[in-house]
């Protein structure tokens, strides 16, 4: 490194630091534009939070008035009468199992398809990947009957038919496979082979190599696609709408949509806002805590 280049680099750094101290007119405009979008993003959410502690009359009154007193009982009603807690628990259960399952079978398939050439490999791979372009709506009605028929399978039938969480989990896994396999195969292909080969020479089984060597190496890819699947499955509305009709089995998205319809009849809009808040707040908290991982995970997923 020569002295001059050091000076240039250093002076640029200084310039950068200095420029950050002073706000030029352009920077102000930039901030204004960014702030505008911040407001657009945050205000509807904050407004919902605010409405969740208003009384029924206040909600029907001026949208921007502040609540005269805080009606925390709205939350009690949303939690108990509207069963938000139950729905949330259902969502957590379903998503926990299905994301685990998706990652397990998805990475298995992706690994084999990306590292083991065999006859038919390409065909299976394309079969999976082509699923990326299928609109799920075409499959909906046959899927309903497929799941209904699964309910008649001896022994396990009652657990995986319509209106069962396990049935929904299997469907989630199946419909998450195209992207998971697509992404993870690409990822496994980029991993170096030397370590795995050495282990094989040492007598490790294929299975062991996969679980003990390849999976740990693929960690970044797995994290990213796990986040992707968690968000995707947590937010799923269409599949549970068709497959879960019993109220106590519903997931959160169904519950929220239902409360929205019911609010009109029960004349309980305040509970709706409380329910919305209960659905939104945990997601925002979790996101804010893990935002770095979530952002990089999702964007990496998209860019692969």
């Amino acid at each position: 490194m020569t002295t001059t280049s050091w000076t240039v680099a250093n002076s640029r750094k200084l310039a950068r630091q200095e420029s950050r101290k002073r706000l030029g007119p352009m920077a102000i405009l930039s901030h204004l534009a960014l702030l505008l979008w911040t407001v657009l993003t945050v205000v509807p959410i904050l407004w919902t939070f605010l409405a969740s502690v208003k009384s029924e009359d206040e909600i029907f009154g001026d949208a921007w008035s502040l609540p005269s007193s805080l009606h925390w009982d709205n939350f009690a009603r949303a939690w108990e009468q509207a069963h938000i807690g139950q729905y949330m628990l259902n969502s957590v259960i379903v998503v926990a199992f299905s994301v685990f399952g998706t990652m397990l079978v998805g990475s298995m398939a992706a690994y084999v398809l990306s590292r083991y050439p065999f006859r038919g490999n390409r065909a299976i791979y394309l079969l999976f990947v082509s699923g990326l372009a299928f609109p799920v709506y075409l499959a909906l009605s046959p899927l309903f009957f497929v799941v209904q028929n699964m309910g008649n399978v001896p022994l396990i039938g009652p657990f995986i038919g319509l209106n069962t969480h396990a049935g929904l989990v299997l469907v989630y896994i199946a419909y998450s496979l195209p992207f998971t396999v697509f992404f993870l195969s690409a990822f496994f292909r980029t991993l170096p082979t030397a370590v795995a080969e050495a282990a094989m020479v040492d007598g490790a089984s294929h299975t062991r190599v996969f679980f003990q060597i390849m999976l740990p190496m693929a960690r970044p890819g797995l994290v990213s696609i796990t986040i992707f699947n968690i968000l995707g499955q947590w937010n799923q509305y269409q599949l549970p709408l068709v497959l879960l009709q019993e109220r106590d089995k519903w997931v959160l998205t169904q519950g929220i949509a239902d409360i929205s319809t019911a609010a009109g009849y029960d004349q309980d809009w305040s509970a709706l806002f409380a329910a919305l808040t209960l659905a939104i707040l945990p997601m925002l908290v979790v996101y804010t805590v893990f935002q770095r991982q979530i952002q990089s995970g999702l964007t990496a997923g998209a860019l692969k």
């Binding site: 979008w37 945050v42 029907f60 009154g61 009605s141 195209p178 269409q238 709706l272």
Partner: protein, 304 residues
């Protein structure tokens, strides 16, 4: 050696068995059935639906509501990516390059903006739909109409005026999507060597030419990816329309989309044959779009 090959075959089979079975049962078989069902008059009642050939397809050619839905999807296909990408590029540029002063650099608080912009992305579409139902209320209790009326304006029927409702749907979709692409483009920008901007600036390039001469060309691949993703979202949209709009795609069919028509015909009219035919048309639109975009972009290089 033979044993090893046997072991390898066993491993491949064992690892592929679960994912391929799940995928065939829950994804591929419903799609294949759907193609058959689309050529029947099945209404879910009769055990043996009558085969009616292409009758459903002939019928759907005259189905005004479905073609309305197609034009709405087409509108979204153009507008959603366009608006979202322009906004996201603009914000990403401001955040990363458009810093203050003479030098280029991230704007102050860019991390904060990025976190906040991403908020809508982590919320379930169904939740967003219910939230905006409230935001769009037609009277003074609506978040948007309240200030409008306070200024003496007439309230806007965001969801009740057939001339406005479509734009409300588009607006909500953009609202939810922008943050993700800001982060995506920021990631792309971060990988552009800073010196390139500085060199260009030393050459006297203004912000505008900085954007068009450096940022955009270097991000072009990412923009294409974004376009494909948003395009698929535009073709597949369902929950926003179904949950948020009056009469599920109204008023007067002004917001309905293909997926809503498939769902309505299948699960409200019990015309499974006809709904499947609509689904098949939707399938060809989506696959057509996917193939077209793979051709136009260089994405086939990566995997196909």
């Amino acid at each position: 050696m033979l044993f090893n090959r046997y072991r390898r075959g066993l491993f491949i089979t064992a690892f592929l068995a679960a994912p391929v079975t799940l995928y065939l049962v829950y994804v591929i078989s419903p799609y294949i059935q759907a193609f058959y069902i689309s050529m029947t008059d099945w209404r879910g009642v009769s055990a043996t639906p009558a085969f009616i050939g292409l009758e459903n397809f002939r019928r759907l050619l005259e189905d005004g509501t479905f073609w309305k839905a197609v034009t709405h999807n087409a509108g979204l296909l153009v507008l959603l990516p366009l608006i979202t990408i322009v906004l996201a590029l603009f914000f990403a540029f401001l955040l990363n390059v458009g810093g203050g002063g003479r030098a280029v650099g991230g704007i102050r608080g860019s991390k904060f903006y990025r976190v906040v912009f991403f908020f809508p992305q982590v919320l379930a579409v169904a939740v967003v739909a219910v939230l905006f139902q409230q935001v769009f209320r037609p009277d003074g209790s609506g978040m948007l109409n309240a200030p409008l009326m306070a200024l003496g304006g007439k309230p806007i029927g965001f969801l009740s005026d057939p001339g406005v409702a479509f734009w409300s749907v588009l607006g909500v979709m953009v609202w939810q999507a922008v943050g993700f692409y800001v982060v995506l483009f920021s990631a792309g920008l971060a990988s552009i060597p800073r010196d390139m901007f500085e060199a260009a600036q030393i050459d006297g390039a203004g912000r505008l030419s900085l954007f068009f001469r450096i940022t955009l060309p270097l991000l072009w691949d990412t923009v294409q990816v974004a376009w494909v993703y948003l395009g698929i979202i535009a073709l597949d949209v369902f929950a926003i329309v179904w949950v948020m709009t009056d009469q599920h795609g109204g008023p007067d069919w002004s917001t309905t989309v293909m997926a809503a028509e498939v769902y309505r015909n299948a699960f409200q009219y019990f015309r499974f044959g006809y709904a499947s035919a609509l689904g098949v048309v939707m399938f060809f639109f989506t696959v057509g779009f996917a193939i077209l975009s793979l051709r136009l972009t260089r994405r086939e290089r990566i995997e196909f």
